[in-house]
């Protein structure tokens, strides 16, 4: 496998949690005249040229997102780092914050300058205690070294970073739910518009970015933006930190350029499939549609290719599944997860995810019936584009795609019910029971 440039993971295993080590490795070099001589517009344009796209899941171009933040609105601009990593199979932000917290801080200072912001919040998943410790230690060092606080490096620029611990809800990774949670309200997504860029935290312009997105900034600034862009595909620049898990020899975090073939990732980086033959791959976290082994053979890891295969790049978390697994069991896990994590606002998501989970439970328990699969597919049709956030589709999508691609697995389970062909009986209450 070709050695690739490490943008985010270069300092892994080098003890870069300590500011001196980080600086020796070239850290904080960007926080200099060069940065402060750039205007906000130049910097945003610079990032736009790098073709960096958000790494949180939606893949929205970062420079463009920044350009939406209104200037001179009379309100402070907040930067919020989305470190609530909750998607199944995703664990990159955890390692990034643990191994290289100073890079996150450096990236935030750059973002802070670009957006004219005074303060940033790192909304960290509550369970990530070691990360929080690591970041807090790094913050103390950065304050002591004068990279944060008042008049950074003798300029007029003042910038603070706060760490906020979430209470452990997947939905708080959705940016508006995250903002609600940050404000101290119940973590439920807000109606849009207004979008956070215009009215987010405390009704002020707010830019929410993933940890990895922010951590790519120092490298981009110390190189040419085109150099970063060249590493990826025409529509998405740079490298990506992939999480590979499941039935592979070496599960873990691997940085590779966007557009790397999927099988290269599995075989060369993660050491190949173990325990059986490849059955399916979830390319972008637990909420995306699976690719069969044949599809995986031709897929490349980038936004466009995966979108064309009717799945998504998401957070770049590949879950590799071998042929000893029944997809129904997997789907049942997802049902359990998403029905528990629905925030409970929208009717279809609140009631539907739970119903799907109960149906899947029955199928797995050998109590499925003919027609259950069709009913599930039809129920998922009721999710499409009608809810406040896409969480409902995070379960609806898999239900549709698993049942379409791996129908045999479902039929196998349903056949275990001796009464599977029994038709549905309408249970009707008739007057006489009540009076």
């Amino acid at each position: 496998m070709a050695e690739c440039v490490k943008v985010c993971t270069a300092n892994f295993g080098k003890g870069a949690q300590d500011i001196e080590v980080y600086k020796k490795l070239g850290g904080y070099a960007n926080i200099s005249e060069k940065l402060f001589n750039m205007s906000q517009f130049e910097l945003i344009d610079y990032v736009q040229r790098s073709n960096l796209r958000g790494r949180g899941g939606a893949g929205f171009p970062t420079g463009m997102k920044w350009s939406f933040v209104p200037r001179n609105s009379g309100k402070p601009v907040y930067i919020v780092v989305n470190a609530d990593e909750g998607e199944g199979g995703t664990f990159k932000d955890h390692f990034l914050m643990l191994e290289d917290p100073h890079r996150l801080i450096e990236g935030l200072i750059i973002a802070g300058w670009a957006l004219g912001s005074r303060a940033a919040y790192i909304y960290c998943r509550g369970e990530f205690l070691p990360c929080i410790e690591s970041i807090n230690k790094a913050l103390n060092q950065a304050y002591a070294a004068g990279y944060l606080g008042e008049n950074i490096m003798g300029t007029k620029f003042c910038f603070d970073i706060f760490v906020h611990r979430g209470a452990g809800a997947y939905i708080c990774g959705e940016e508006t739910a995250l903002i609600n949670s940050l404000e101290g309200q119940k973590g439920q997504p807000r109606l849009k518009p207004p979008f956070p860029a215009v009215s987010g935290a405390w009704k002020s312009p707010t830019c929410v970015n993933n940890v990895e997105t922010i951590m790519a900034l120092p490298w981009i600034l110390s190189h040419e933006p085109e150099e970063y862009a060249r590493m990826g595909t025409p529509r998405a620049g740079g490298t990506k930190v992939f999480c590979i898990s499941g039935d592979v020899k070496n599960p873990g975090v691997y940085e590779a350029p966007l557009g790397t073939p999927m099988m290269t990732m599995i075989n060369d980086y993660a050491g190949g499939v173990v325990g059986g033959k490849l059955k399916a791959v979830l390319p972008g976290g637990s909420s995306c549609a699976p690719l069969t082994a044949e599809e995986a053979a031709v897929a490349t890891m980038d936004y466009e290719c995966l979108a064309s295969m009717k799945t998504m790049f998401g957070s770049g978390a590949m879950i590799v599944i071998n042929d000893t697994h029944n997809m129904v069991d997997l789907l049942n896990c997802l049902g359990n997860f998403y029905s528990h994590e629905s925030c409970g606002q929208c009717t279809p998501c609140r009631e539907g995810t739970g119903l799907l989970h109960r149906m899947l439970n029955l199928i797995v328990a050998g109590k499925g019936h003919d027609g259950d699969v069709e009913l599930m597919q039809s129920l998922c049709g009721g999710f499409g584009g009608v809810t406040i956030c896409p969480l409902s589709i995070s379960l609806g999508g898999p239900v549709s795609s698993y049942t379409a691609k791996f129908r045999a697995d479902f039929d196998e389970y349903i056949a275990k019910n001796p009464d599977h062909a029994k038709p549905r009986v309408q249970e009707t209450y008739r007057p006489g029971i009540f009076w």
């Binding site: 809800a169 939905i171 508006t176 609600n180 309200q185 119940k186 439920q188 997504p189 807000r190 109606l191 009704k203 029905s339 528990h340 994590e341 629905s342 925030c343 409970g344 606002q345 929208c346 009717t347 279809p348 609140r350 009631e351 539907g352 995810t353 739970g354 119903l355 109960r358 149906m359 029955l362 109590k367 019936h369 009913l375 039809s378 129920l379 049709g381 009721g382 499409g384 584009g385 009608v386 809810t387 406040i388 549905r424 009986v425 309408q426 249970e427 209450y429 007057p431 009540f434 009076w435």
Partner: protein
């Protein structure tokens, strides 16, 4: 939870009209509102659960879906949160199968974990779910009993019923006035939004998430607020129930009388829901200018005393003889009116004064404390028709004068004025007056102190008008619950004493025009149910 700041903008008469295309047909709709209101303005109803015109939009039920043509093709959007834009293209179920199916799907989801025990549900007959089902659902159930239900509710209230089904709390005591049926709750968030943004209190909360979301108060705390019964109005289903009305009457057996609450000078618009000759329930009647959809507990529960302790009717001639006797002697007569007197009563009173000549003098007012408006549905002034008194030239604040000069008078006639009940120590001076005629609905303190006390109709039993603190002329309607048909409205007795009996409230109102220029051009029958803003008042 979302966007508590988003109060819907409602169309008014002055809204600019814009052209939009509904199912490809051009229509003119109010341009400054949301799609749901705009469609309603042209007669297209959109089923909805969470939207309430006077609550911030939360957009969570997803029942009000319509299709909108956009840059990326036709998209499903929620009508309650989509602003009207000129030229927009909208598709309703009339032309779009997709919208029809989407609404149906939402309906199906809504019922997945709903008990559907309508036969024993208090809301049946006026339930939003039932209405939406007729409008948007009517689908055969596709569920199997095995799938089970996950009833919403506090885990502490759950139990397993005889069929082995997990159930939610059926009568959770939220506070002194409200009981919650957790199973029936559809998590529309209306009650929470009402308490938060209208009542200004965080007493109700949605706890938990997903299909184990439930409504609750903070541990150890109660729902106890002057407006807490409004949550039973805004609740679209049978989840929030009022203890006073729970299981008292099936709602379709109730008749509804639109009238105005006369215990406060805002004159909250209300429905008197009655059957079998008694009032069962008082509901707020929507009036955007006055009380919107809100009603204080005080005004709502006052009806429980309307039928109690009533003063019996007394022959008219006894009063007439007494009054004409005093007049013949040349004794001075004090005519004193209380705040629940309608414009018609006041017209009759003025006519009586005119007929008695200089020997009679008018008084009016209250000894009760006057508070300040609460911004919801109370003005704080217990003298309901104060503005009407001013308009009719009847004093509204000179009772102290009356007690001070009590010695001058030979006869006192009080109308709907419980002056002894309001302040017995001040009123005791009135006992110096030899003849005290009391016209009152109730056998109250003043009636007890009267030398001649005659029952009249209560304000809930009369036709009439009043002018509220916003200078809006509002109409009262008679609810047929008077305990004795012989009991007459005060204006009838007064006008007969004056020698010219009003035949009806409309007749009395015509006479009122003689005393108040602002009323002279109006006719009783043309006053709208939401009232009429009189000249000189601010909207």
């Amino acid at each position: 939870m979302s966007n508590y700041y988003n109060m819907p903008k409602l169309p008014t008469e002055n809204s600019p009209k814009v052209e939009i295309f509904v199912d490809d047909k051009p229509v003119m709709v109010p341009g400054d509102t949301n799609l749901l209101e705009a469609l309603k303005a042209v007669g297209i109803e959109t089923p909805h659960v969470c939207y309430h015109p006077f609550l911030p939009v939360s957009g969570n039920c997803r029942q009000c879906l319509v299709e909108q043509e956009g840059p990326r093709g036709r998209m499903l959007v929620i009508a309650c949160y989509t602003p009207v834009a000129p030229g927009m293209k909208i598709y309703t179920p009339a032309s779009s199968a997709r919208v029809k199916n989407a609404r149906r799907a939402t309906q199906e989801f809504m019922l997945v974990n709903h008990p559907l025990d309508c036969p024993i549900c208090d809301k049946a007959g006026e339930c939003t779910l039932q209405e939406n089902y007729m409008e948007a659902g009517q689908n055969e159930s596709r569920m199997r009993p095995e799938y089970g239900k996950n009833y919403h509710g506090n885990p502490a209230h759950q139990f397993i019923d005889a069929k082995g089904q997990l159930r939610g709390g059926k009568h959770v005591d939220l506070g002194p006035r409200v009981l919650l049926d957790e199973e029936r709750c559809v998590q529309c968030d209306r009650c929470v939004r009402f308490m938060r943004s209208i009542a200004g209190s965080e007493q109700l909360q949605l706890a938990g998430r997903a299909d184990h979301t439930y409504i609750t108060t903070f541990p150890g705390e109660k729902l106890d607020h002057e407006y807490d019964l409004c949550v039973t109005d805004v609740c679209p289903v049978g989840a929030m129930t009022a203890k006073y009305f729970r299981f008292q009457k099936r709602v379709w057996l109730l008749s509804h009388t639109p009238t105005v609450s006369m215990d406060d000078s805002l004159g909250a618009n209300i429905w008197l829901d009655h059957a079998d000759g008694r009032i069962y329930r008082v509901m707020p009647r929507c009036n955007p200018e006055v009380n919107r959809s809100w009603l204080s507990n005080t005004s709502r529960l006052a009806f429980q005393n309307f039928g109690k302790n009533r003063l019996p009717f007394m022959g008219f001639h006894v009063i007439q003889n007494l009054v004409s006797g005093v007049k013949a002697e040349g004794g001075k007569i004090a005519l004193a009116a209380g705040g629940t007197c309608t414009i018609e009563d006041l017209a009759a009173l003025r006519m009586l004064k005119d007929s008695l000549g200089d020997s009679a003098e008018l008084f009016g007012g209250t000894f009760k404390k006057v508070g300040s408006p609460d911004g919801i549905a109370m003005s704080g002034d217990p003298m309901a028709n104060r503005a009407g008194f001013k308009l009719m030239g009847v004093p509204e604040n000179n009772l102290a004068d009356l007690t001070k000069r009590a010695g001058e008078f030979k006869l006192l006639l009080t109308v709907n004025l419980d002056i002894f009940g309001e302040d017995a120590s001040q009123a005791s001076a009135l006992e110096k007056i030899q003849n005290r005629v009391v016209l009152s609905a109730f056998n109250d303190e003043t009636a007890a102190h009267g030398t001649l006390s005659c029952g009249v109709r209560h304000w809930s039993e009369v036709q009439g008008t009043m002018v509220n603190s916003l200078n809006i002329l509002q109409k009262l309607n008679a609810c047929p619950v008077c305990p004795d048909e012989k009991i007459r409205p005060a204006y009838e007795i007064l006008s007969e004493l004056a020698g010219c009996m009003f035949e009806s409230a409309a007749d009395a109102f015509k006479h009122a025009g003689k005393y108040a220029a602002a009323l002279s051009g109006l006719s009783y029958d043309t006053i709208k149910s939401t009232g009429k803003l009189l000249e000189g008042g601010e909207a």
